[in-house]
Subunit: 253 residues, 2 copies
């Protein structure tokens, strides 16, 4: 494996993969096409690291990083792309066909860590998983048989990324906010909206999912994300201060 | 499976495949991308037809035709293409990279049966197998790891053939918010930030300019702009209500 390469910024993230053979096959395809950062969220079987299917990719598999949540697995990424077989359910996200999506990913890779998410063999990515994504991408399969084997889907996506070696790449520094900050902003927004009674604790989880998607749609730059964090903290402080001012006044009189 | 399609002239020929799971995976990928004529030459295991990996492709696998020799398997084909991982041995054949080879195959398919050969997992196609081919094709993998899993290699080749197919994607109207709403949002944001003392009246004009730019950078959709207007109105209401609560309490006591 070379010391570094143009694909080093890609993180292949397998979410809740069931079958270790598929994880191994994903590792093998990664090695075939020159990708090396595999991240695994909640695999069903802890023994995945021994998967025999990782032919010539055992090192890559051994170095895979394990996470408990999608949020942690993508925290350092500035672009988060989910893969899905589904095209016609009311997706809450922009959907791009693989070759168009790959072009965008390739433009971003030289400057930014990018996460490419694959869901479980049975269910794909959940709505909650998708809410962490900026957009979704699908492989153009036949309408009557859209569900691909996980290892094959990974191979096809990585092939598409590696297919064009000569792609004009903008080397401007990527000013997009990393997922970690978008997560903080989402959390603060939820807190603010609870405090201001825009949402309530009963509906908070589904609201949070909606808000998470909305925040991703904003395409925030780093500086803007910081500005929003400051704004929301200040609003929260003010609402708390005003509340306390009430009783304090009462005590004084 | 449709009655007939533009890929009906392609025969995917697996020569001496060892692992039934790979044969099943090849069948699945064929079904995914709309190919249906699988031919098998001397499979190592006769039980390949029951391969569980042929998810949603059991019919295709059941109808696979079995041959004793490559010559028989390709007898009706007018173009025979072999796949190989190897690039540098003294190949006796013209070698094309997948995307260029696929283009030629696509041109021939409407008029002629074309065979696409894949060799065994361990050895690939033999020189004898290759001698039946018009030319060879390889998937552009990393020089240090050229050997792909058979099922993945089939998936990648068929993806390349199907790649240019235009699949209608429902293009949901993605209406951007009109300037009027962005203006309202900016005004409400300024009001909220004054109220929460994030900015003050002295610096408000220059802050407003910055905020206006920032709001434009968000590229808000109509629905999101409305959401933000609701959020900001609620926060303002809450901050005002909390402030009033103070004096009211005071009066009561």
């Amino acid at each position: 494996m070379p010391a570094s390469n143009k694909f080093d910024n890609l993180r292949v993230v397998l979410v809740a993969a069931r079958n270790p053979l598929n994880i191994g096959a994903a590792a093998r395809a990664m090695s075939n096409f020159g990708f090396r950062h595999l991240r695994v969220v909640n695999p069903y079987q802890v023994a995945f690291r021994e998967a025999r299917s990782a032919v010539h990719a055992t090192d890559l598999l051994a170095q895979a990083q394990e996470y408990a949540t999608v949020a942690e697995a993508i925290a350092d990424c500035r672009l988060v792309v989910g893969t899905t077989a589904i095209r016609h359910r009311e997706l809450q996200h922009p959907l791009k066909v693989l070759k168009d999506g790959a072009r965008i990913i390739l433009k971003r890779l030289p400057a930014s860590p990018v996460a490419l998410l694959f869901g479980s063999e049975r269910f794909g990515l959940s709505n909650d998983d998708m809410s962490h994504c900026h957009w979704l991408m699908h492989i153009p399969t036949r309408d009557d048989h859209i569900s691909m084997n996980l290892g094959q889907a990974v191979a096809v996506c990585l092939y598409e990324l590696a297919r064009e070696t000569k792609i004009a790449i903008s080397k401007k520094e990527d000013a997009t906010a990393p997922a970690r900050e978008l997560d903080r902003m989402t959390a603060l927004l939820v807190e603010t909206l609870l405090k201001s009674e825009f949402i309530n604790t009963r509906t908070a989880p589904s609201s949070e999912e909606k808000l998470r998607r909305m925040v991703r749609r904003l395409n925030l730059r780093q500086g803007d994300a910081e500005l929003w964090l400051g704004i929301l903290r200040q609003i929260l402080w003010k609402m708390n201060a005003s509340e306390k001012a009430g009783p304090r006044e009462t005590r004084k009189s």
